[in-house]
C-alpha cells in the first residue's frame, strides 16, 4: 500500500508533466501565412484557362496598379494595411512613370477587385478607369516562430520579459504581374523577395512579428522595384525583337518630337569640324 506522501508526489509529478506539455504546445513551433494569388484571382475554379491572343499595345499606355484580393490568411498573421498597400503601389507606379510610352498610372484600391473576379472583373476595372494594362501585385508572407534554448528561462517568469528566446523567420515574396487586359496576355512579371531573421522575448513576440512583417514587405518591395526596372527594359527589347508577338500602334493624340539620329548628328559635327580645322591649319 503506497503511503499518502508517495501518492501526493506521484500526482504532483503528473500535474507538472502535463503542465509542461501544455506549455510546450502553447509556445512551441508556430507558423502564420498571409497570401494573395494572381492565379486564384484570374482563374478561379477553372480547369481551362482563357487562351491569350496577340496583345495590341496602343501607345501611350494607361496603366493600372492594384493588389489582388487576399486569398489566404492564418488567424495570427499580420496584415498589410491599405496605407501600406498604397505606399507600395506609389513606388511601383513611379517606375512606370519614367517610361515615355506610359501616359497615365491609376492606383486602384483592392476593394475594386472582387475575390476570384478574373478577367471579367478586370474588364470592369478597364471600363471604369480607362486602362489598357494592369499591374497585379500579389504577395506571400510566411512567418515561423521557434523557441531556442534560452526559452527555458521563461520558467522564471521574469525570463519571459527580458530573455529573447523566440526565434522568428519571416519570408516574403511580392510579385508584380503585368497583364494586357483585352488580350488576356501576361506581358512580363517581376518578383521581389526578402528573408528576415530576428529574435524576441516571449512578451514582445507579437510586436516583433509585426515589425518583421512590415520590414519584410518593405525589403521585398525594394527588390521588386529593382527587378521591375530590369524586366521593363527586357520587355522593351522583346517588343522590338518580336514584332509578331506584340502589335504596337500609336494612338491619335500621341507624343511627338523632333529626332535627329546619331548618324546625322555625327556627320554634321564631323563635316563642320573638318571645315573649321582645315581653315585654321592654313
Amino acid at each position: 500500500m503506497p503511503s499518502k506522501s508517495a501518492i501526493f508526489c506521484f500526482i504532483t509529478t503528473i500535474v507538472c508533466i502535463f503542465s509542461l506539455t501544455g506549455c510546450a504546445e502553447f509556445y512551441g513551433k508556430r507558423q502564420s501565412r498571409y497570401t494573395s494569388s494572381v492565379v486564384k484571382y484570374l482563374y478561379p475554379d477553372k480547369e481551362v484557362a482563357e487562351v491569350p491572343t496577340i496583345p495590341h499595345l496602343s501607345l501611350p499606355l494607361r496603366v493600372g496598379v492594384s493588389f489582388v484580393p487576399e486569398s489566404g490568411k492564418t488567424p495570427n498573421a499580420n496584415k498589410l494595411s491599405e496605407k501600406e498597400k498604397m505606399d507600395l503601389m506609389v513606388r511601383i507606379s513611379s517606375e512606370f512613370r519614367t517610361l515615355p510610352f506610359v501616359k497615365d498610372i491609376e492606383l486602384i484600391p483592392t476593394a475594386y477587385l472582387t475575390n476570384g473576379g478574373g478577367f471579367t472583373n478586370l474588364d470592369q476595372i478597364r471600363t471604369m478607369y480607362g486602362i489598357d494594362v494592369i499591374t497585379l501585385l500579389s504577395y506571400d508572407q510566411v512567418q515561423h516562430t521557434d523557441e531556442g534554448l534560452l526559452s527555458l528561462s521563461y520558467w522564471t517568469i521574469v525570463g519571459a520579459y527580458i530573455i529573447k528566446g523566440e526565434r522568428n523567420d519571416t519570408s516574403t515574396m511580392v510579385d508584380a504581374a503585368v497583364y494586357d487586359i483585352p488580350s488576356r496576355k501576361m506581358l512580363f512579371r517581376a518578383p521581389g523577395i526578402s528573408h528576415i531573421k530576428a529574435s524576441s522575448t516571449l512578451v514582445n513576440l507579437s510586436e516583433q512579428l509585426r515589425n518583421d512583417s512590415t520590414n519584410g514587405f518593405r525589403i521585398a518591395a525594394d527588390d521588386l522595384v529593382a527587378n521591375l526596372q530590369n524586366e521593363l527594359n527586357r520587355f522593351k527589347e522583346k517588343v522590338k525583337e518580336m514584332p509578331e508577338a506584340y502589335a504596337v500602334e500609336h494612338k491619335p493624340g500621341y507624343t511627338g518630337g523632333g529626332s535627329l539620329g546619331g548618324a546625322y548628328v555625327l556627320t554634321l559635327i564631323t563635316l563642320g569640324g573638318l571645315i573649321l580645322w582645315t581653315g585654321r591649319k592654313k
Binding site: 500621341y254 518630337g257 523632333g258 529626332s259 535627329l260 554634321l268 559635327i269 563642320g272
Partner: protein, 214 residues
C-alpha cells in the same frame, strides 16, 4: 573687343542654360511633366509650356543627340562670336509650339531640342558662309544637305536617320523646318551688322539700331 567677349559669354551662357535645363528635366520626371508641351494643360492656361517644351526629352538617346548637336552649335557660334543666336532659339522655341497648338489638335505632348539644334547649325553655317568667302561653298553645301534632309523627311513623313521602332514617340520633321527658318530669320534680322563686319566696320548695337526712310 569687349563687346565681342560679351557676345561670346552670352552665347555660351545661353547654350549652357538650355543644356542644363534639358538635363535636369530629363533627370527629374516631375519637373519634366511641368515643362512638357501638354495640349490640354496649355489650353487650361499653363502657357509657359509653349516656351519650355523643347527642354523635355522622351528617351536618353533623344536627349543625348539633341544636346550634342545643340551644344556643339552653340559653342561654335560663341567661339566665332556670331550675334543673334538667342533669336534663333526664341524662334525655334515659340513658333513650333504655337503652330502645333493651332494646327495639330491630335498632338498631345511634344518636346525635344532638335529644332533648336537644327537652327543653331544652320545659323552657324549661314554666318560662316557669309563671313568667309573661301569656305562659303562648303558651308552652303552643308546647308543644302540639311535642307534636303528636312524636305525629304517632311515629304515622306518619316525620319531618315532614326528607326521609328526604336523611339517612343512620333517624329515631327516639321520641327526642323522651324529651326531652319529661325536661322534664316536671325540672319535677315542681323544682316546689316554682318555687312558692316564684312566691310571691316564696327557693328552698331542691335538694340539701338535706327530705321531710316529715304
Amino acid at each position: 573687343m569687349d563687346r565681342q567677349k560679351k557676345i561670346k559669354g552670352q552665347t555660351y551662357a545661353l547654350t549652357l542654360f538650355i543644356v542644363g535645363i534639358s538635363i535636369i528635366a530629363y533627370g527629374c520626371p516631375r519637373f519634366s511633366d511641368l515643362l512638357v508641351y501638354d495640349r490640354q494643360n496649355i489650353l487650361c492656361g499653363e502657357l509657359w509650356r509653349l516656351l519650355t517644351a523643347p527642354f523635355v526629352h522622351f528617351s536618353l538617346s533623344h536627349m543625348f543627340w539633341d544636346i550634342l548637336l545643340f551644344g556643339s552649335a552653340g559653342f561654335a557660334i560663341g567661339a566665332a562670336g556670331y550675334r543673334g543666336f538667342w533669336l534663333v532659339c526664341i524662334f525655334a522655341i515659340i513658333i513650333p509650339s504655337l503652330i502645333f497648338l493651332i494646327t495639330l489638335p491630335e498632338l498631345e505632348r511634344y518636346g525635344g531640342l532638335s529644332g533648336l539644334a537644327t537652327g543653331g547649325v544652320a545659323y552657324f553655317c549661314l554666318c560662316s558662309a557669309l563671313k568667309t568667302r573661301k569656305k562659303r561653298l562648303l558651308w552652303l553645301a552643308i546647308l543644302v544637305g540639311m535642307g534636303a534632309k528636312i524636305v525629304a523627311e517632311t515629304t515622306l513623313n518619316a525620319p531618315l536617320f532614326v528607326k521609328t521602332s526604336s523611339i517612343p514617340f512620333r517624329v515631327l520633321p516639321s520641327v526642323h523646318i522651324f529651326g531652319y527658318l529661325g536661322a534664316l530669320a536671325a540672319i535677315i534680322w542681323n544682316w546689316p551688322n554682318i555687312r558692316l563686319t564684312e566691310a571691316g566696320l564696327k557693328p552698331r548695337p542691335l538694340a539701338r539700331r535706327e530705321v531710316t526712310f529715304s
